[in-house]
């Protein structure tokens, strides 16, 4: 199992588009991937779960991956978070 604390860097938080990017990225991996914020844990492959986190700018989200490609999965998500989900704002 691999775990990593990531911060939301885009100004408008995890709205629909970044949420979609997370789900699409997570879906490329076989591992089970979960996001935890304020004691709520959700499946990163579920768009409704990710949107329900309502994670705003500056919020800290804990990513956990468990499975054969857990290291790659965490790395991909970390890049996505750091690139502000490829949003311009």
């Amino acid at each position: 199992m691999v775990q990593k604390e990531l911060t939301i860097l885009n100004r408008l938080g995890l709205h629909a588009r970044p949420a979609a990017r997370i789900v699409q990225t997570a879906a490329m991996f076989e591992s089970d991937i979960e996001l935890t914020k304020d004691h709520v844990t959700i499946n990163a492959k579920s768009i409704m779960g990710v949107m329900m986190l309502a994670a705003e700018f500056g919020a800290s989200v804990c990513v956990t991956a468990k499975g054969s490609d857990e290291v790659q999965a965490i790395a991909a998500l970390e890049k996505l978070f750091n690139d502000k989900f490829n949003e311009e704002f």
């Binding site: 789900v23 409704m48 309502a54």
Partner: protein, 579 residues
């Protein structure tokens, strides 16, 4: 006969037989099945899911082309919702262990999922529950007796009545068979309205109960001019509407014959006639119009229905295609007039609920408080001007003081400087003008005219502020009066002040296409008017039938009149004599 009042969404008159699109609602009652039926229901669910995904795939591209990327993005979100394991697992569980029908299982699961969203405080995230419902209804519609097949199976010309239409529905419509449509929900700028305008067919939205009041096969009249739906009209009404329809058709074909002729009065006075342009509703008819240029490009739509402000790139693409569309003719881009009734979804700095939004933080006031919105928009405009040799004019909305103009000018100069450092320069000079709609700006225009390249008068708001009447309030709406002496004198003063400094004045707003007021506007020496594509040839025809000298006399007389009644008599008598 029953007449329903709604919101006119696309003009014209359509007469024909009704087809009512069956609505999908979330059932709350549980329907149970026998153990043997489980695998059948599971299969039904999987089939509906597969079908819906395919449908979304097909539509996504078409929606991008007609309704723009924001709706296409919505369809991507819907796809992800339908693929969501949370949804799938819950539905399968309910069929497998609770012995529910696929329909009940889906409805209940959607209800549960949406309830989770109600607990969220952030209004933007809370809103997402509607996406779940939309995606879910689409799925339900594909369970057996199927609505999409229903729509594409329409074989004879009909009028469509629905509670609401999905963007994907409106795409799969057999265009030639649909003479017009009406819906229970929606507003002037909803996707159904935009679609009707781009197909150039009449539509009325916001009818509340139309889908319940109309039965299949009823005879209907959709009056897109007045926002009316007439169900089973009596003979007199029907004959009346047929007559109106014939007349509209006749006028339109007559008007086409003046398309290539110049906009001049009988005695040779030239007026520039611009068109208000909305790239979302451009249709075949609009493309045939020969105009003097674009007088008003509203940009608010770029900022609505989106969780983030539009990026420079996205704005640039739109401005570039508009600039190319109008070639070398003037293209007037109004900076986003957000606030009041046009509030974006994304969070803005220093903006709380306004009690009196029309006097609150809107237009340039809002942009100056959120400078990155202003800078991004100006950058996208300058980039466009570096790319094509267009005559771009930037218009500042809701100006009330010269300081506001100077702030925008400073931001604009700074951006030009940034581009210059990268070796880029607009191919043509960009003009900077102001929309005069606040009385203070109109009265003290001499103080800011030197800082402006052109003036545009936004008469809808100017009149509203001058007579202190909110047009939406039925108690006072009748006092909203373009004939009020104060309106004419203010317009005349603005034009005089601008002309002293050799600056041009354009008028946009409903007054510009009001045939009664037209002689006065010309007489006060307005340089240009901007009207909707639909009114364009009508106004051109009216101008071509006027005599400028006569207009000048009338306009001078109107300035001396002290009451609305006198001015109204003057313009109405004049119209009567001419007709």
């Amino acid at each position: 006969m029953l007449v329903l009042k709604g919101i006119p969404a696309s003009p014209g008159i359509a007469i024909g037989r009704a087809i009512v699109v069956p609505g999908e609602s979330l059932a709350t009652t549980k329907h149970y099945i026998a153990l043997e039926a489980v695998s059948g229901e599971l299969h039904k669910f999987q089939q509906a899911l597969q079908k819906t995904m395919l449908e979304l795939d097909e539509c996504s591209q078409k929606v991008r082309a007609t309704l723009g990327p924001e709706y296409a993005g919505l369809m991507e979100t819907h796809k992800l919702i339908l693929q969501d394991p949370t949804l799938k697992d819950a539905v399968i569980h309910k069929i497998n262990t609770d012995y529910l029908t696929a329909r009940s299982a889906i409805s209940l699961t959607l209800g549960e999922l949406a309830a989770n969203f109600d607990k969220i405080e952030d209004p933007f995230f809370k809103e997402r529950r509607n996406d779940i419902f939309d995606a879910g209804k689409r799925l339900l519609a594909n369970l057996e007796g199927n609505k999409r097949d229903f729509l594409s199976s329409i074989k004879r010309p009909s009028l469509l009545v629905a509670h609401d239409l999905f963007p994907s529905d409106t795409i799969s419509l057999p265009e030639k068979q649909i003479l017009g449509f009406c819906t229970d929900v929606g507003g002037k700028t909803s996707h159904t309205a935009l679609l009707a305008q781009s197909l150039n067919i009449p539509a009325v939205v916001g009818l509340s109960t139309a889908s319940k009041d109309v039965a299949n096969g009823d005879q209907l009249i959709i009056d897109g001019e007045n926002g009316l739906l007439v169900i089973n009209p009596d003979r007199y009404t029907l004959a009346n509407y047929r007559q109106i329809k014939r007349e509209i058709k006749k006028t339109e074909s007559l008007l086409k014959t003046i398309n290539h002729l110049p906009v001049i009065t009988q005695d040779g006075h030239r007026v520039h006639l611009y068109v208000n342009y909305d790239p979302r509703t451009d249709n075949k008819y609009n493309k045939t119009l020969i105009t003097d240029g674009l007088g008003l490009l509203r940009t608010e739509f770029l900022f609505m229905n989106t969780p983030v402000p539009p990026a420079e790139e996205a704005q640039y693409k739109i401005y570039l295609s508009v600039a190319k569309r109008f070639d070398m003719r003037p293209v007037t881009i109004r900076l986003a007039d957000l606030g009041a009734d046009k509030m974006p979804d994304f969070a803005l700095d220093e903006l709380d609920e306004d009690d009196n939004p029309f006097m609150g933080c809107r237009g340039i006031r809002l942009l100056l408080k959120n400078p990155e919105l202003l800078h991004t928009q100006l950058r996208a405009i300058v980039r466009t001007a570096c790319e094509v040799p267009a005559q771009i004019r930037v218009m500042i909305p809701m100006v009330s003081s010269v300081e506001e103009v100077r702030h925008v000018r400073a931001a604009f100069d700074q951006i030009l400087q940034e581009f210059a450092e990268k070796g880029k320069k607009p191919l043509n000079k960009i003009a900077l003008g102001a929309m005069i709609e606040v009385p203070a700006a109109a009265i003290a225009l001499d103080g800011m005219i030197n800082d402006l390249d052109f003036i545009s008068i936004g008469t809808n708001d100017l009149i509203q502020y001058l007579v202190a009447v909110d047009r939406v309030n039925p108690e006072v709406a009748h006092m909203y009066d373009p004939c009020h002496p104060a309106v004419g004198r203010t317009i005349h003063n603005i034009i005089q002040t601008a002309h002293k400094r050799s600056k041009t004045v354009s008028i946009c707003g409903e007054i510009a296409s009001d045939s009664k007021m037209l002689p006065l506007l010309l007489g006060w020496q307005v340089d240009s008017l901007s009207v909707t594509p639909r009114m364009y040839l009508r106004v051109k025809n009216n101008i071509r039938n006027l005599n400028f000298e006569h207009c000048s006399d009338m306009a001078q007389a109107a300035l001396l009149m002290g009451s609305s009644a006198e001015i109204r008599n003057l313009v109405e008598d004049n119209q009567y004599e001419n007709s």
